[in-house]
Symmetry: C2
Amino acid sequence: MAEQDLIKDMLARMSSSGWRITDQRRMLAQIFASSDGYLTPKDVYDQMSVKYPSVSFDTVYRNLRMLSEMGVLEQFYFMDGGLKFKGSCLKHHHHHLICTNCEKTVAFDYCPMDKLEVPGNYKIINHRFEVYGICEQCQEV
Amino acid sequence: MAEQDLIKDMLARMSSSGWRITDQRRMLAQIFASSDGYLTPKDVYDQMSVKYPSVSFDTVYRNLRMLSEMGVLEQFYFMDGGLKFKGSCLKHHHHHLICTNCEKTVAFDYCPMDKLEVPGNYKIINHRFEVYGICEQCQEV
DNA sequence: CTTCCTGCAAATCGTTTGCATCAGT
DNA sequence: ACTGATGCAAACGATTTGCAGGAAG
């Protein structure tokens, strides 16, 4: 999807969920539409501050949380427990290969749940599979 | 390994790393030897408080961190970003099936990395694979 | 014009640090 | 006795909340 369409899509989803379209939210949509990696609340705040120097941290947090609940963003706790967000890919189930240096993220389709036989009689709800590595660019440096 | 042996093993490892064996550390070893699930720092603190009402949170944190660095405990950030600890299984590589209700944990040997072909030329460092579900006991309730 | 959203400030939670005292070796 | 470990209090970073004014519908 082109960036502009992504932004429109996000805004449309906010609107249809009954949320007002404020300048700050418009900008949030833009930030995530033009970023393919994970962003911390601080990253987002810093990017917003460029155009809205008066934006506050709590507005960023509030909107990030809301957008996650709405499914527009994916919320994610990294290995170190740090919270990050990224525009959610709604297309299909997949997992990520994440560069531990620059956090560039590549999706892949392989899902280990297909083949897994789990011990015990657990009723499976959810799973988490991520691969961490150093991307080609970061290896070169 | 029997519980008593586990405790001795933990204490021996602390001692050989040059750490003093205090009552608090003895008790930490006992707590983790007799628990097979994950414990939050608060869980640990609460258990310690029963016998040592004067124990402080920072001592718990300090020792948990130290024991993790030493490899006696496994440190783990859950899906919700919360930090937990558990006695570490040093035997072999494995993954976990975790009950989202009671957090009882079952290990299994299957590792998805065997079959995975990753896109891009990432140099793979690490991976994370967990399955979340409801255990048999928690389903019955 | 009404209701929701924002920005500010202050509260809260989990975790860490500095320091004087206490305990293990 | 020496040195590391403890408990206290205070600092700290990240996130959340209450509230009054401001903007979207």
